[in-house]
Symmetry: C2
């Protein structure tokens, strides 16, 4: 095991990398007095990259953000609202997202294409632009170096907890900070679990380098969580690098590249796991590890199939060491693997070896599943050298209650 | 709409096509005194075809059945047990399945490869062969023309109701019967929803013709139902034709081919819908119709994605006319469709037109979702000429309870 070359910072107070300000306020999109509009702003054009939902129906803000990034000027700001997703809102929705971008750019006296826009909340309802515009007017005044916490609050919907991660990694002997903020799967009228992630750093890095890193890390973390298998119209992860740390530009051959990559991966993984743990109705975090796979793609497909199975998820809620449901997922993941040599472990309990059940202490296993804060499922295919992890949660009465509740 | 050319027979008493006998008995695989071993037997070698689960981990009986069918002698019998799936049981399991085949063949004085074997129940436990063998000894004596009902009972696990369908269709002026029996998604220790279907007919048809028809009908019916997205190790649908009806052999150019096909489709669809309606914890049957698709595959992928969505299924349990979750499924089904012209109807309620929400009577829609015995979701993509249906059920507290219950 390699030593980790980064230092994890405390969650509170949330620190921002050099060059960044943040803040949030209540403009009236949420019914209660909670923050619903926030922004991260960079003092200089930040090298920026984003990944988006694969859903064909993409919300208006995603179109606007793509347009801003395509200008290649570097982002100076991202503005985010919660309470309304601005999805399935047609031409008016697109006009509204553009207006949010332009008004915030004007307020900051920067160009419109230096602003990204992100929304989460109700879909199919037009954005109440009067409220939003009044919020945008007030927003610049609340931005500051300690505003990460307020920003954090402003992007939450029915998330039970805020999700942040922050680390310092040493590059060329200089401290470089990476700070991430995310929101997860809260129930939204008319209900959609949307995942948003914002990662800032003061590292010096090129746009292609940042984009490749973000894509690679998203595939291994944010794209490996599942709460219920549904994919939102608004999902987006945005990375911004201010370049204000004092080191030589990062690239694949930089001696500290691996350290930076590990630190970035840590931030992405903490956020992804926090989203999974806070899944609707969840009582526990579940981590599935598939190893011995013939390819990374195979390992990922199987890990996600296990983590997405309602039968596996209800068994975990019921503390049932049900390996039958797990092996059935391995077999239906759409990946060809050797069927005679699969090992399965639940926590410390080996339950299947070479695809055959082995005796285990059922009572102790049940106790483990009942009490563990994080349940681990390990599947070794003995059919290659690749591995992957997926994260999710159990399927509970509370999930059904939350999602079956009448819209009111 | 074409007129249906078949006559639906009453469910009780279940009639068998000419040439078939059936029966069932209790041999001790189930703890209570319910039937757990049954058979369908044909007086002559029946033209036979089967389709199997796509799960990589296939139970031993499937291997044995494939072997029998590959001999091409025509099946004289299928023996089915419930209570033990004989899956993940290794070489011993395969030996046991073979022994079931050979012993039953011996009891009937036919060749082993004229017998198919099918099992459903617990996985990972060896078949209690002493009980099974005593049952096989007694089985021939209980077979008779009215034994369909007993057979039906013998294949159920925790199904709440039996699933049958029977029709008469006229071919060359002669009555031809098609009778189907199925079992669905019952909870089995350690829990797996297995689907089994057995369709018998006295039609005169070739093996390739029967196989092609079974495959086509299974793709449109049994393969279009989803209870929780999991695929069992034991799923199988078997068709047997005794050829004892008096008509010219059926083939694609026979003037009554379409009538036969419709009648066969009816039987398969009734069984598939019965399985969906009896899904674990279900309170209602849900029928999703996707039309205006660029291909059948696209229509099927979208229909199955909608029907498989936990968010859609919980909304239906909660009587929530939540079109947002439906459109999100259309967008993540892995199929490229035009995103600006999607219509969605829930029952009689138009909720989305050209991908935009339209006002509807929310209270009346909720009332419909609450009270309808079968809820229909119609999605028109306006992007082609193909259509497909999928069936399933809602996701309820009871589903979680059934599947989270400790194995005891």
């Amino acid at each position: 095991m390699e030593t980790e070359k980064y230092q994890v910072l405390p969650e509170e107070p949330l620190r921002l990398p050099k060059g960044f300000l943040a803040g949030g306020l209540h403009c009236g999109l949420k019914k209660t007095e909670r923050h619903d509009l926030g922004a991260i702003v960079c003092e200089v054009p930040a090298v920026s990259a984003a990944v988006y939902t694969t859903n064909l129906f993409q919300a208006a803000p995603l179109t606007v953000t793509r347009d801003s990034l395509s200008a290649g000027e570097g982002l100076r700001a991202v503005i985010v609202n919660s309470g309304n997703a601005n999805a399935c809102t047609g031409k008016q929705g697109l006009d509204d997202a553009r207006k949010m971008r332009e008004s915030f750019a004007e307020a900051l006296q920067i160009s419109a294409q230096q602003v990204a826009v992100s929304s989460t909340g109700v879909i199919g309802e037009l954005m109440p632009m009067e409220k939003v515009m009044s919020g945008i007017e007030r927003l610049p005044a609340v931005l500051n170096r300690d505003g990460g916490e307020d920003f954090c609050q402003s992007i939450l919907t029915t998330d039970l907890v805020k999700k942040t991660a922050s680390v310092i990694v040493t590059i060329d002997g200089q401290p470089v900070m990476i700070t991430g903020v995310a929101k997860g799967s809260g129930m939204i009228h008319p209900n959609m679990a949307t995942m948003l992630g914002f990662i800032t750093t003061d590292a010096v890095i090129s746009e292609p380098g940042l984009h490749a890193l973000l894509k690679e890390m998203t595939d291994a973390t944010f794209n490996m969580i599942t709460v219920d298998g549904d994919t939102s119209t608004n999902d987006m992860v945005l990375a911004m690098a201010s370049g204000q740390a004092e080191h030589l530009p990062l690239h694949e051959h930089h001696p500290d590249w691996l350290a930076f990559k590990q630190a970035f991966a840590y931030v992405a993984e903490v956020l992804a796991k926090a989203i999974a743990r806070d899944g609707e109705g969840a009582t526990k975090l579940v981590e599935v590890t598939v190893s011995g796979a013939p390819s990374t793609e195979a390992a990922r497909a199987i890990a996600k199939t296990i983590m997405g199975s309602s039968l596996v998820k209800t068994a975990l809620f019921g503390a049932d060491a049900n390996w039958g449901r797990i092996i059935a997922c391995v077999g239906r993941a759409g990946v060809v693997v050797a069927t005679e040599q699969v090992d399965i472990r639940l926590g410390e309990f080996s339950v299947l070896e070479k695809s055959r059940p082995v005796p285990f202490d059922d009572e102790a296993a049940t106790e483990y599943l009942k009490t563990a804060d994080t349940v681990t499922i390990e599947v070794d295919l003995h059919d290659g050298e690749y591995a992957s992890k997926a994260w999710g949660c159990d399927l509970t009465y509370e999930y059904v209650r939350i999602n079956a509740a009448y819209r009111t």
